[in-house]
Subunit: 280 residues, 2 copies
């Protein structure tokens, strides 16, 4: 039995591999919550008293960074606060200039590279922070982070736009219009956000339309700023299906050759590869 | 005795004028909270059983809009849910294209115009939503709203940037650099936000620096989009002193002739003028 664990932004995901079976569990985790406490809470039901279970993790908010350009580093042993586990962590990656870091996405990147060894192109990993990662010859060359997903979450859940953007359904036409408006005039983003509320109050715009307007605006400014990453490149979008579908749709509208891959499968694959490499 | 009340975004402010004395009170108000319930909660200690107290308000989230171009409208009688008050409201203002509305700021605008009758220029009212209002010949001609203040609040209080931006102190140099960076490359806003966290994690940037970086970035994209409002114009910034000082500093750096006025004083003046005009 071994356990894979990945923290990405405010979620901790674990995969407990026991022979042929994989148990999957997930929990929200506050910025200040201790990683190991949250981890033990999730995996405790699966642990056996009689032996020490190896845990291979990515995304822990401690430990030192490896600096790009470099390959995803091997997992390193970390002091475990619970004697029932042996804890290993893939170190997070940092970039000196512009200052930036990856924390958790190393697992997906390793999972992707394990089956695309000499691939040259750009990975787009939308999540709370979306990351645009330039990969070449098995190494991460550089990357840029955008707070897009977190802004979307804050605005739909905690802002005055809440009721104007919370709803089922999706308006792809509104999404594409908001996307091209934001790409053409990205500086208007704070005004575009305000107009989502105005359209709901004055013109009874639906929440499905408001949500598409919001997401189109936020992805639009991200694509305006990440043009150097995707223009004329092959882009693979990695993440949860809802997110990858929106990004793929937005990139296709710019004529980009884009494919999608499931983030959780790639994360597990990357962590499994790190576990095998430990040769325990 | 009469009472002035103004809701602006998520705050309700009241001024109870009793002879020579003015009692000021204020409370946070949720988007879905009933205005009159919150109002009665604030003014109840001051009401007298024996008579009906007139309340003149602005910013109620009900009632019909008056459409610009127009002057601030006279207060209209509203059905009161409590028999101890007679409730009057200055109607909110809407704009057809682009769809936009003012709700509460009418009080400050009326207060400003009462002493600047033939003034022609631009009022900038930073708050949860900042409003750029073009005024001419006593009328509001057009306006544009930006969700800047609310974004600042969400990011400093509820986001992963919380600890990187919550702190006393202010770094004016960081503010001015972030401001000019954002004005030059406004599309990079989501990446600039992410770099605030990276600078805290990798370079131990202080919270005072993070806060100035955040505010400079957000005001920078607002100024990039509102250039048509301020370029070559006389701008009066109206609001709370912390906000007006930042906006005035940002505008001065662009060579704009700018002055500041206290928002609460202008709101009370505007509501007092509406009360007198009712001739009760």
């Amino acid at each position: 039995m071994w356990i894979a664990a990945q923290q990405c932004a405010d979620r901790l995901n674990v995969w407990v591999t026991d022979g042929e079976r994989v148990h999957v569990a997930s929990t929200a985790i506050e910025v200040d919550t201790d990683f190991q406490t949250a981890l033990i809470g999730l995996i405790e039901p699966h642990m056996r008293q009689s032996r020490v279970t190896p845990v291979v993790s990515a995304g822990m908010r401690s430990g030192s960074f490896v600096q790009v350009p470099c390959a995803v580093a091997a997992a390193r042993k970390i002091a475990a606060t619970d004697p029932r586990i042996a804890l290993y962590a893939i170190p997070p990656m940092s970039q000196e200039k512009p200052a930036d870091f990856l924390q958790g996405e190393e697992a997906q990147i390793a999972g992707f590279l394990s089956r695309n060894k000499d691939w040259d192109g750009v990975l787009c990993l939308p999540s709370a922070c979306s990351r645009w990662v330039h990969v070449s010859a098995g190494e991460v060359i550089s990357f840029t982070s955008f707070l897009t997903g977190e802004l979307f979450g804050l605005l739909t859940q905690h802002s005055s736009l809440r009721s104007a953007t919370q709803g089922q359904g999706w308006d792809e036409g509104v999404f594409q219009t908001a996307l091209s408006d934001a790409m053409a005039r990205p500086e208007r983003v704070a005004s575009a956000l305000s107009s989502i509320l105005a359209n709901a109050v004055l013109n009874q715009a639906s929440a499905a339309s408001g949500k598409a307007h919001l997401y189109g605006t936020l992805i639009g400014i991200e694509l305006a700023a990440s043009r150097a990453h995707w223009l004329g490149r092959e882009v693979v979008v990695i993440g949860a299906q809802d997110d990858t579908a929106r990004y793929a749709s937005a990139l296709k509208a710019q004529g980009v050759a884009v494919s999608e891959q499931a983030g959780d499968l790639l994360a597990l694959r990357g962590l499994a590869q790190a576990y095998v490499a430990l040769n325990l």
